[in-house]
Subunit: 322 residues, 2 copies
């Protein structure tokens, strides 16, 4: 079994050696640029680990792993247009470095190429792979739209929020694992358990992301504390606060949401988070999803030592910044 960094090297090499096309260069240069920006490569590595879990050589899952990564990057290219985002991984986004039409077409082409890659997978029922892959792909689009809908709503419940992050980010972690499991030879039930392991880890990870933005330490989070608060971002924390805040504090909260003095705003909201035990609420919810994830992993009848790498990876993901 290879560890995370060995698998990272394997997928990085695969990315470096893959050509998506050459002409017109206005399309293929941005695609190569985007794919070379780096990153944790978490999703494709999960695919490889899942394949390995069921005893197959990870090379069988390499095309599918890259398919997942190309798909993920396609969603980022289009999200960056919708969010008018200037930077991605510290570099200019395609949208900014080139232009909007190029970013639309590059994304489209990356989506097509991701299916091409998936279809390269040998000795596996392609219809099932496509079903798993496309089901997650559609959900990612749905999640992005629901997230955009939230921007103009003030009555989002935390169930709705969890539903949104499930679609927008968690299902793709699940699908990355399920695709790898299917290629590895897992039966349908085992593959679904691994999907649910990934999905629940993904939800827990997003909740943690929200917690850390308000309660992490700057050097661990890699950005200033309270950025979400400053931007009035509808995180799980703010959604829950808005739902439970006593009517006596409602005016204060509304005042803080439109406060121009950032430090005053952040400290004020943090005080309310403390008063209403919002951090504890979020931590508790995160733990529930983690427990759910591990239950699914336990349901798979494979020696525990074979599961260690996936569980360690999940733990590291959760512990990395807390």
């Amino acid at each position: 079994m290879q560890n995370y960094s060995e698998l990272h090297q394997l997928i990085s090499l695969k990315i470096a050696n893959t050509t998506y096309g050459t002409h017109p260069k206005e399309l293929y240069e941005p695609i190569n640029y985007m794919m070379s920006l780096g990153g944790k490569r978490l999703r494709p590595i999960l695919t490889l680990m899942a394949c390995d879990l069921f005893g197959k050589d990870v090379n069988n899952a390499l095309d599918a792993a890259l398919a997942i990564e190309v798909f993920h990057n396609f969603t980022l290219v289009h999200d960056d247009i919708m969010d008018n985002a200037p930077l991605r991984r510290g570099q200019e986004t395609i949208y900014k470095k080139w232009n909007m039409p190029v970013a639309i077409l590059c994304g489209d082409l990356m989506m097509i190429k991701s299916i091409d890659l998936l279809a390269q997978t040998q000795n596996t029922n392609l219809a099932i792979l496509i079903q798993v892959f496309n089901d997650a792909a559609a959900k990612v689009c749905e999640g992005q739209q629901i997230d955009m809908n939230f921007e103009t709503r003030t009555d989002v419940s935390h169930d709705e929020y969890i539903h949104m992050i499930t679609l927008k980010t968690a299902v793709l972690l699940g699908a990355a694992l399920e695709v790898g499991a299917i290629i590895g030879g897992a039966n349908e039930i085992e593959a679904k358990h691994l999907y649910n392991f990934g999905k629940n880890i993904g939800i827990a990870f997003q909740i943690q992301d929200d917690i850390l933005d308000s309660f992490g330490e700057g050097h661990q989070v890699g950005k200033l504390i309270g950025g979400d608060i400053a931007a009035n971002k509808k995180t799980l924390l703010l959604i829950e606060l808005m739902a439970v805040v006593h009517k006596d504090d409602k005016a204060l909260l509304n005042q803080l949401l439109s406060e121009q003095h950032q430090e005053k705003k952040i400290n004020g909201v943090l005080d309310l988070y403390a008063k209403y035990q919002i951090k504890e609420f979020a931590e508790n919810l995160k733990k529930q999803y983690l427990s759910e994830a591990y239950l699914h992993m336990q349901s798979i009848s494979i020696a525990e030592e074979r599961k260690a790498l996936l569980i360690d990876t999940a733990n590291e993901l959760m512990g990395r910044m807390s």
Copy 2:
């Protein structure tokens, strides 16, 4: 064998009965809207005809036919953003009726759903279907980019122009037929002949479109004559004129291209088209591609009467507006 209007009814019914999803409605309503705008449904009908040509019931190809139509509509949704187009088939585009992010996401989702539909096809090698479909899909994106590149170039050759329209529109007609042929049980060589029949018909059709814009009769074309000339659109005709115009007429042409008086501009360019026999050049090129198309059809060893419907459809397409 069913005729065009019966097949049109079959695919219309399939479109009416297909649900792509429900939630969030901000995504699925525009998709249903786009798919209900109507049109000739040429591409999916070609898929059904190709399946029938090889003796299989067209119902076997119905999912794949819809896949082609959904894919085609996805490209229109994204093209409308890039072109900032207000209308599509006389109705508001998704981009205008909703907004840009919705149009991006709807298109993405339609691309995903098109692969889903293709993967519903039974008793056919799915990897091969996907290869044919995706090869055309990638080329459509490439063609759109090359077309956008032309906007800022003054040195486009007619070979480059033919290459662009081949990618942007002709290959999808080819792929629509090839997919149908494969589902119908054609061997690889027969399927490729049908692809090339469709591709060459598609090129001829685009050339005819350019000719009619300058030389058709208004009521047949459904728009004013000379629209391309008025807009300085780089059609085959203008590209050829720019390539062959004598240096003595170059100043006149440049003056006409920046002429504000539309009637004067259109008549002036039409005079130059006549002087340099541009219409004859284009007609001749069109005939070459039509001959090439029919040669490919002849190469398929199937009774001529079985080919009649496809050939009649192609003839009608070419004759429709000339």
